[in-house]
C-alpha cells in the first residue's frame, strides 16, 4: 500500500555535522505520541558517555515531515549523557543481574505466600513499546497471577478512551490520518496545547488555516496554541463540559443539526436533545465565563464548515467528569454529522509516546490484548489459548492506577510493586501521599534508564534499554503502528524490559510451572526477549479484537511507513479511517449519550480562593526524568514556576521572580512567580515536570474512566519570606 503523504510540506532540515561511522537508522522520537520520524546516526558503534549521536528529522513520516521540536533534536543526549544507570542496584548498591533477579523472585514468592497473588502489583507506562506493554500484561496475569496491574496511561488517555468506546465502540485516538486536519475547514481543539506539547502537530493546523480554515481553541490559558487560533474560548477550569453542552444547544437552535446523519448513523439523539435544551448559552456563559457571542461564533464556524474536526486533549479529559466532557464533545461532533465522514471527525490527541498502543494490549486493569475486556469469557478463552494457559487461571479485573497506588502497603492492598516506565512520585495526583504509600511497601522494584525520583526509593533498580537501543513497535496518536529501530548498541550492563521479564518468568514460572494442567510451556519461550517474536504473538493475541494487529508485520510497517489498525490480515491494507462505513457498535451506529455538567470535585472557597491547573512546557516531557537531564532543555527552563495573572499579582503584591508557596488541602509546593496576562485572574498554572504541582492535585476519580482530577483543584498563594 502506498504510504500516506504529508500535507504540510517538507521542512528545511539541518544536515548532520558529523560523518557517522554507521549509516543513520530511521526510527522515531522517544517522547510524545506524535512519534516524529527521525534518523539517528551514532558517531561510533557503541553509544555511551562521551560519544556523539546525530539526529535529523525524517521527511517520510507524515506526522512531522521534517519537523522536530527541541526535545527531539536533543534526544541524542539521552544516549550519550553520563547519568545512565548501567548496573542493577540492590538497596542502592551495585549488584549482578542474577543476584538482583534472584532477590526479586525470592521476595515475590515470600510476599505472595503471605498475602496471596494480589500481594504483588505491576505498574506500567504509556511510553513502553507494544511488545513490552503486551508482555507486561501477560507476565502479570500468567506468572504473577495478579489482578493488580495498571499503568500511567490511566492518568492520560482513559477519559477519552472510555467516551470513545461508549460512543463509537472503538477507541482509536484519531480515527483518521493526521494529514486530514490540513484539509479541514475548521478544527476545534479543547484542552490541548500542541504548540508546546507536540510542536510539529501545529503545522497541520497551520496548513489548514493557510487554506482558509479556522482554528478554535478552548483553554483557560492563552497558550501558544491559543495564540494561533482564530477564536479562543477561555473557560473557567472545570467547566469544559458545560461549554460543550452550550455549543451543542446552539448548534441545534442555530440550525446546524445534520438531521439525515443523525437519523441514519446514530442512536439516542432525542434524550440528548432534551438534556441540552437545559443548557442554553446564557446559562453556560455564567458557569464558564465564555461570552455567548464567542459560543455563537464557534458554532457558526463549525456548522458552516464542509469538513471539520473536534479534538480533545488532557485539559478537557483530566477531570473527575472527563469521560462525560469528552462525551459532550462527541455529541457535538455527532450532531454536526462529523464522525465517519471523510476529512471530518472527533479525535483525541494522545499524549504519551505509545499512549495508544499502551492502552490496547493488556497492561490496563480491565483489559486483555487487542482491546479485549478481561471479564469477557470469549476474550479470556482466546487470549488464554494464545498463551497456552487455562482461561480459568487468569485473574479478573484489578484496581485502577490511582486506586492501586493508594492501596499499596495497606491492609488488603499489594505489598510489592514492579514498576516499568513510570515515575509516580512526580506524576501521580496527591503525590506526597502516593510517595508515602510507595515507601510502605515490602518490595519496590523499578526498571528505568535513569535514577528517577521513584527509582531512588526502590529496593531493586533494573537498568533498562531505551528507544534507540532497542527494537519494537509504537502506535502513534493516529493509530498508525510504527517501527522503533535499534540505532546504537546499549551500554554494557543494561538489559531490555523483555529480558528482565524473561529473567523473572524463568525464576517464578507461575502458570508455566508444571503444576497446572495447561502447563508444559517453557517460560523462557513464553517470554521471548526478541521484540519481533513478541510482536508476532501479540498479533495472534489481538486477532479478532477491536485493536486487531493480526495483519501487521515489521516488514509491512517498514515498507508502508506505518500501518493503521485494525488490520486483520496480511493482505488487508489497514484502516486509516475506521468509521467511514459504520461504527463498530452492535447496530453499526454511533451512540449519543446524555451527560450533565457538575462542578469540579473541589471548588474555590474563602480558604482556597484560586483554581490550580497544571500542564506541560515545551522543553520538558512528563515527569522530566529524561528531559531534566538534558542541558539544552534545562537552559530553557530548569525549575518549576507559578503562572499568575497581573491582576492577581497586583492584589497579592507579588512580582515576577518572587518565590511563591502554593497550598492545597493535600500539600504545599513552591515555585517562582511568572506574571502573565495569558492566564485567567482566578487561576494559577504550574507545570508538572518537577516535584511540586502534583503534591497539590486532587485524586478524585472519574466514575467511568477512573481518571484523577489533575486539571483543577482549589489552592491559595502565599509569598515566601
Amino acid at each position: 500500500m502506498k504510504p500516506l503523504e504529508s500535507t504540510i510540506g517538507r521542512m528545511p532540515t539541518s544536515l548532520p555535522v558529523l560523518t557517522p561511522v554507521k549509516a543513520p537508522t530511521a526510527t522515531h522520537c522517544p517522547y510524545c505520541a506524535l512519534q516524529c520520524g527521525m534518523n539517528v546516526a551514532a558517531g561510533s558503534e557503541e553509544s555511551g558517555a562521551g560519544e556523539t549521536v546525530t539526529i535529523t528529522p525524517r521527511q517520510d513520516v507524515p506526522a512531522n515531515a521534517g519537523g522536530l521540536c527541541q526535545k527531539g533534536w536533543t534526544a541524542g543526549e539521552l544516549l550519550t549523557g553520563g547519568q545512565r544507570l548501567t548496573t542493577p542496584l540492590l538497596h542502592g548498591e551495585p549488584a549482578g543481574w542474577d543476584e538482583a533477579l534472584d532477590y526479586v523472585a525470592d521476595r515475590i514468592r515470600q510476599v505472595q505466600a503471605e498475602h496471596g497473588s494480589d500481594g504483588v502489583a505491576v505498574f506500567g507506562g504509556g511510553g513502553l513499546t507494544n511488545e513490552k506493554a503486551y508482555q507486561l500484561g501477560k507476565f502479570a496475569r500468567t506468572v504473577l497471577r495478579t489482578s493488580q496491574i495498571d499503568y500511567n496511561g490511566r492518568f492520560c488517555m482513559s477519559s477519552a478512551a472510555a467516551a470513545s468506546n461508549r460512543a463509537f465502540g472503538m477507541d482509536r485516538g484519531l480515527p483518521f490520518p493526521i494529514t486530514d486536519l490540513a484539509e479541514a475547514d475548521a478544527v476545534l481543539l479543547a484542552g490541548g496545547n500542541v504548540a508546546e506539547t507536540m510542536p510539529p502537530f501545529l503545522r497541520h493546523l497551520t496548513a489548514m488555516r493557510e487554506r482558509g480554515g479556522s482554528l478554535i481553541v478552548v483553554d483557560p490559558r492563552l497558550t501558544a496554541t491559543a495564540r494561533q487560533a482564530d477564536l479562543h474560548l477561555q473557560p473557567t477550569p472545570g467547566t469544559d463540559l458545560a461549554l460543550a453542552l452550550g455549543l451543542l444547544h446552539l448548534a441545534i437552535t442555530e440550525g446546524h443539526l445534520d438531521e439525515a446523519y443523525v437519523a441514519g448513523r446514530t442512536t439516542g439523539f432525542d434524550a440528548v436533545r432534551t438534556s441540552v435544551a437545559s443548557w442554553w448559552p446564557e446559562r453556560v456563559e455564567r458557569i464558564t465565563g465564555v461570552p455567548v457571542a464567542h459560543m455563537r461564533q464557534a458554532v457558526a464556524i463549525l456548522g458552516g464548515a464542509g469538513r471539520a474536526a473536534i479534538l480533545t486533549g488532557r485539559g478537557a479529559e483530566q477531570h473527575a467528569k472527563g469521560t462525560d466532557t469528552v462525551t459532550a464533545f462527541i455529541n457535538l461532533a455527532l450532531a454536526l454529522g462529523l464522525p465517519g465522514r471523510p476529512g471530518s471527525g472527533y479525535g483525541c490527541v494522545t499524549g504519551q509516546g505509545n499512549g495508544q498502543g499502551g492502552r490496547e494490549h493488556g497492561q490496563k486493569a480491565d483489559q486483555l490484548p487487542g482491546y479485549r475486556k478481561i471479564d469477557d469469557p470469549a476474550a479470556r478463552e482466546h487470549v488464554a489459548r494464545v498463551w497456552g494457559v487455562d482461561p480459568r487461571d487468569l485473574p479478573g479485573p484489578g484496581r485502577s492506577a490511582y486506586e492501586l497506588l493508594d492501596a499499596l502497603g495497606t491492609a488488603g492492598g499489594p505489598r510489592a510493586l514492579l514498576l516499568f516506565g513510570s515515575n509516580p512520585v512526580i506524576s501521580a495526583p496527591r503525590a506526597g501521599h502516593v510517595t508515602g504509600r510507595l515507601g510502605s511497601l515490602d518490595l519496590l522494584v523499578v526498571s528505568d534508564l535513569v535514577m528517577s525520583e521513584t527509582a531512588a526509593m526502590a529496593d531493586v533498580v533494573f537498568p533498562t534499554t531505551q528507544w534507540a537501543e532497542e527494537g519494537g513497535t509504537m502506535t502513534n496518536l493516529e493509530g498508525r503502528v510504527l517501527l522503533r529501530r535499534r540505532a546504537v548498541t546499549p551500554p554494557p550492563g543494561v538489559r531490555s524490559d523483555l529480558e528482565i521479564l524473561q529473567g523473572l518468568a524463568v525464576r517464578l514460572r507461575g502458570l508455566f510451572s508444571g503444576e497446572h494442567a495447561s502447563a508444559g510451556a517453557d517460560p523462557a519461550r513464553a517470554f521471548s526477549t526478541e521484540p519481533r517474536e513478541v510482536f508476532d504473538e501479540l498479533r495472534r493475541a489481538s486477532a479478532g479484537g477491536v485493536a486487531d494487529y493480526a495483519g501487521i508485520t515489521y516488514e509491512r510497517i517498514a515498507a508502508e511507513t506505518g500501518v493503521f489498525w485494525p488490520c486483520p490480515a496480511e493482505d488487508h491494507p489497514g484502516t486509516p479511517r475506521p468509521f467511514l462505513d459504520g461504527f463498530p457498535t452492535p447496530d453499526g451506529r454511533a451512540r449519543f449519550v446524555p451527560v450533565e455538567h457538575r462542578p469540579p470535585g473541589e471548588d474555590v472557597d474563602e480558604e482556597y480562593p484560586l483554581y490550580l491547573t497544571t500542564g506541560r512546557v515545551l522543553a520538558h516531557y512528563q515527569s522530566g526524568a529524561q528531559t531534566r537531564r538534558i542541558a539544552a532543555l534545562n537552559a530553557v527552563v530548569d525549575e518549576t514556576f507559578v503562572e499568575v495573572h497581573p491582576d492577581l499579582a497586583e492584589r497579592l503584591e507579588v512580582s515576577a521572580g518572587q518565590l511563591l508557596r502554593v497550598v492545597s488541602r493535600r500539600g504545599v509546593a513552591e515555585g517562582v512567580a511568572r506574571v502573565n496576562p495569558a492566564i485567567r485572574a482566578d487561576t494559577v498554572f504550574m507545570p508538572f515536570h518537577w516535584a511540586g504541582a502534583n503534591l497539590l492535585t486532587n485524586p478524585e476519580l472519574d466514575p467511568v474512566s477512573r481518571m484523577p482530577e489533575f486539571k483543577v483543584c482549589a489552592v491559595r498563594l502565599e509569598r515566601v519570606g
Binding site: P200, A224, T236, I252, E282
Partner: protein
C-alpha cells in the same frame, strides 16, 4: 416510605422531581401539573417565538422519563385544595392524594392589564400562548407587544426576526427600567430599532381594538397581533386557602419551608427573605436545596438568596444586567461608577463598585468582558485596580507587534528550538541568506513552524540593511 407530592410541573417543579430522583430511588413521587404539556423550559419560549426551536423541543424531561424513573405524573390535573390536617391534596375532580411532604411550585401567572379589549390580545407566558402567537403571526402584518421588560423585548425581537414589523409599547420612561438606567434603555431601544422593533416608551394603553391598540391621548397603533407582556404575579391561591403565610409570595425560610413545616414552596410562587425571584437560576438552586433536605442527602442544605443576573436572550442584542444598577452618583459617594458609552455602536457599559467589589453592571452590545464580569459579580471577588481593563479585556494584554527592527537580540523568535533574534543575526552574518539556511543552522522554524514569518522578516530586514549599507 416518604410520599412526596409536588404541585406544579414547570421549571421549578420538574427540576425538583429530577433532583429528588437523582438522589433517592425510593421516595414515592407524584407531580401535578395544571398544563397538559410535558414540563417545558420557559426560558426557551422566546426561541419558539423566534422560530429557532419547535414547541416539542423545549421540554425539560422526555415523556418516557417518568415511567423510567418511577414517578407518577399527572399533567393537566389541577390541585384545588390542600387539607393540611389530613395531609392530602385534593384535585378538581375530587381526587385525594396523601403526602408526607408537599412542595408547592405553582409558579406565577401573566398580569393582564384591566383595559377594554384585553381578551383580543395574547399574553406571553405559556407554551400554549406561544402556539397562539405563532398561529396569529402567520397571517399578521403588524404586531404590537405591550410591555418592554425582558420577556416583552424577547417576544418583540422574535416576531421581528420573522419579518413582522413590531411596535413595542412600554409604560415606563425607558425599557427594562428595573434593570437598566435611562441611558442604557435608550441605547437598547436604538439597537432594537435596527432589528425592526419600534419602541414607544412612556405610553399608556387604554384599549385593545380589533385592528390595533389605542393609547392615552387617542392615538391608535395599528396591529393585527397584540402580545401582552406586562409582568407576572405569584400563584398563591392554593396556599392562601390552605392558611399558609403569604405576602407577595408564599413565605419560606432558608430551608424553603412554609409556615407549615410539612410544606415547602419553591420557584416564582415563593418569597424568600422578602424577595420573589422571577428567574430560573434561583428556582433551580431552591429545588436543589429542597431535594437535599427531603431525601436527607444533605440535611444542612440552606438557601441564602441569589445574585440576579438578567441576560436578554434575543439574537443580535447582547445585554446583561446584574445587581445594583441605579445609583445616584451625586449623593451616593460610597459607590464607584465606571461607565463607557458609545451609542452609535450600540455599546453601553456600566460598572457599579463598592468596597472594591462589583455590585452591579450593565453590559449592552457585544463584549468579551461579560463572562468575567458575571463571574466577579457572582463570587463577589476582588476587582483589579485597572478598571479600564475590566471593561475592555485584552487592552492591557494586547501583544505588541514585534517588528524585526525593534526586537532586542535576546528576544526568542523560535520557541520550539529556543532560538533568539541574536542567533539568527549571527547565522545571517556567517552567510545564511534565507529561511532554509537559517533553519539548517539554528533549527528555527522546524518545530511548530509558527515563527516562519518572523524568521523571514528578520532575514529580509538584515538583507535590506545590507543593501542600504553597501
Amino acid at each position: 416510605m416518604t410520599r412526596l407530592v409536588v404541585v406544579g410541573n414547570g421549571m421549578a417543579g420538574a427540576r425538583l422531581v429530577s433532583e429528588v430522583r437523582a438522589r433517592d430511588k425510593d421516595v414515592r413521587v407524584t407531580v401535578f401539573g395544571a398544563e397538559t404539556w410535558q414540563p417545558y423550559n420557559r426560558v426557551l419560549l422566546s426561541n419558539v417565538v423566534a422560530g429557532s426551536m419547535l414547541a416539542d423541543q423545549v421540554r425539560l424531561l422526555d415523556p418516557a422519563w417518568y415511567a423510567d424513573h418511577d414517578v407518577t405524573a399527572r399533567p393537566g390535573v389541577e390541585v384545588t385544595a390542600v387539607d393540611r390536617e389530613a395531609q392530602v391534596v385534593i384535585t378538581a375532580d375530587g381526587e385525594r392524594e396523601p403526602y408526607d411532604v408537599l412542595v408547592l411550585a405553582t409558579g406565577s401567572e401573566a398580569i393582564v392589564p384591566p383595559v377594554p379589549g384585553a381578551g383580543r390580545a395574547i399574553a406571553f407566558r405559556t407554551l400554549d400562548d406561544c402556539q397562539a402567537i405563532l398561529a396569529a403571526a402567520g397571517t399578521a402584518r403588524r404586531a404590537v407587544v405591550v410591555g418592554g421588560g425582558l420577556l416583552g423585548i424577547e417576544a418583540a425581537r422574535g416576531l421581528a426576526g420573522r419579518g413582522l414589523p413590531v411596535t413595542l409599547l412600554h409604560l415606563a420612561g425607558h425599557l427594562m427600567e428595573r434593570q437598566l438606567d435611562p441611558e442604557a434603555g435608550v441605547v437598547l431601544g436604538e439597537t432594537l430599532a435596527g432589528l425592526g422593533v419600534e419602541t414607544r416608551t412612556g405610553v399608556v394603553v387604554e384599549e385593545i381594538l380589533d385592528g390595533g391598540v389605542r393609547l392615552a391621548g387617542g392615538e391608535t397603533v395599528e396591529a393585527d397581533l397584540v402580545v401582552l407582556s406586562c409582568g407576572v404575579r405569584p400563584v398563591t391561591g392554593l396556599a392562601v386557602e390552605a392558611g399558609l403565610k403569604v405576602a407577595r409570595g408564599i413565605v419560606v425560610d432558608d430551608e424553603m419551608r412554609t409556615s407549615d413545616p410539612a410544606i415547602y414552596a419553591i420557584g416564582e410562587c415563593a418569597e424568600h427573605a422578602g424577595t420573589v425571584y422571577g428567574l430560573v437560576a434561583p428556582a433551580w438552586e431552591q429545588a436543589s436545596v429542597v431535594a437535599d433536605l427531603v431525601t436527607g442527602a444533605d440535611k444542612g442544605a440552606r438557601y441564602r438568596g441569589s445574585r440576579l443576573v438578567t441576560r436578554l436572550k434575543a439574537k443580535s442584542v447582547e445585554l446583561a444586567a446584574m445587581g445594583e444598577t441605579h445609583v445616584d452618583e451625586s449623593s451616593d459617594t460610597s459607590a464607584e461608577v465606571v461607565r463607557f458609552s458609545h451609542r452609535a455602536r450600540g455599546t453601553y457599559r456600566k460598572l457599579v463598585i463598592r468596597d472594591g467589589r462589583l455590585v452591579g453592571a450593565i453590559l449592552l452590545g457585544e463584549t468579551a468582558a461579560v463572562g468575567t464580569l458575571t463571574q466577579l459579580f457572582d463570587r463577589g471577588g476582588p476587582l483589579p485596580g485597572d478598571r479600564a481593563g475590566l471593561l475592555f479585556p485584552g487592552l492591557a494584554g494586547a501583544p505588541v507587534a514585534d517588528s524585526p527592527v525593534r526586537m532586542p537580540d535576546a528576544a526568542k523568535v523560535c520557541q520550539c528550538n529556543n532560538v533568539t533574534k541574536g542567533q539568527i543575526r549571527a547565522c545571517w552574518e556567517s552567510g545564511a541568506r534565507d529561511v532554509a539556511a537559517v533553519a539548517a543552522a539554528t533549527r528555527a522554524t522546524t518545530g511548530c513552524g509558527s515563527c516562519r514569518d518572523a524568521v523571514e522578516g528578520i532575514v529580509g530586514w538584515l538583507c535590506e540593511q545590507e543593501g542600504v549599507s553597501a
